[in-house]
Subunit: 233 residues, 2 copies
Amino acid sequence: MSKDTKTVIIVAGGRGKRMGNRIPKQFLRLCDTPVLLLTMLRFYDYDNNIKIILTLPKDEITTWETIKSQLHNVPSHTIVEGGDERFFSVKNSLAYVEKGGIVAVHDGVRPFVSTETISRCFDRAQQCGAAIPVIAMTESIRYFEDEDKSVSVNRAKYKIVQTPQVFNSDILIHAYAQPYSQDFTDDASVVEKFGYPISPVEGNIENIKLTTPLDMEIAKIIGKRNLSLPLSP
Amino acid sequence: MSKDTKTVIIVAGGRGKRMGNRIPKQFLRLCDTPVLLLTMLRFYDYDNNIKIILTLPKDEITTWETIKSQLHNVPSHTIVEGGDERFFSVKNSLAYVEKGGIVAVHDGVRPFVSTETISRCFDRAQQCGAAIPVIAMTESIRYFEDEDKSVSVNRAKYKIVQTPQVFNSDILIHAYAQPYSQDFTDDASVVEKFGYPISPVEGNIENIKLTTPLDMEIAKIIGKRNLSLPLSP
């Protein structure tokens, strides 16, 4: 595999809640397009030779197959069954990633990542081995030693981490050979525990993770804007 | 002054940009009502005997007087000229706060604070002397030792801080007698430096600070919802 070969693992972990009959966020529609397809198209727009691996909870694979069969512009992709934790979903997917290339891991519910953010992450990972997009923290935060004891911290020292988190695939494969730890909050933390430094690049503010119903309404605004205006670079 | 006397200092620091002719966020309209009035009404709804102190940049006082003169439901309030930093705006306002009561400091551009959040903060401040509303952090974050060196941190140990930050007025007045420091990120940090512990209570997720144009669009959604649905308690 050439050093330039690019892969993205798209992690779509949302499960439908049987009791509430709720649709997982990755299948909801924005501008009449499923969130997951919008996300895949961002990477396809960045590089239409990129290899796309999609990891879904076992129960949701059929749902995606059904949705997909009614769409005409889905980039070709490999579906991998997810695990109980995000860690295991990525680990399962890495079995389909060849060594020697560059691999990104991206949240399926972040459809507003800009092509520029993707490009910055891949370029930096090619230079440094491990790159993540970050944006400034705009909220005041406090550190809680325990439930009652907290202290002000300087928010300028913190940044919000987004995805795609992009790595030399050899590094990511080796890092994911470690045993699972609850301290693994994202892929960067897995690679970091493995002893490899992470290089930050600028993300884009619209690259939000769609989690709550309010997020979906915000997404509609960003989606509408996005038809007429480019995302922030 | 009775221990039950309540005051709120509403800090509206936004300045119009002369070149861009932009209106400061506190004067923009949501549901046809200036943000600043919506914010004032939250506190008035909580307690219609509350004393309201409004601090505005010198240049914006006339603008507010003009806007106010065209409105019919503005609660009575005292206007205080702000300083160059938020610290000095609060300090100037404290000259109008009598000792022995409870005083809140709130951002003028947080119109979606719920009555329940206000109530929790005042109740806790009455018990403990210093209370602030916090909500869970939903984003992954990293700590930056310097521009290049960063480490993953456990986001469960951090919370996002909102306003109103509410204090026994004697404590706040004493704390604001300290010399200004750039480390003062909010009122809690001033009180904390003075050596007084801060007690956290639950905030409400809609209580966002309106800073960017996207925030204003999100605010329209929350504003519309809010006509039919209560804010989260």
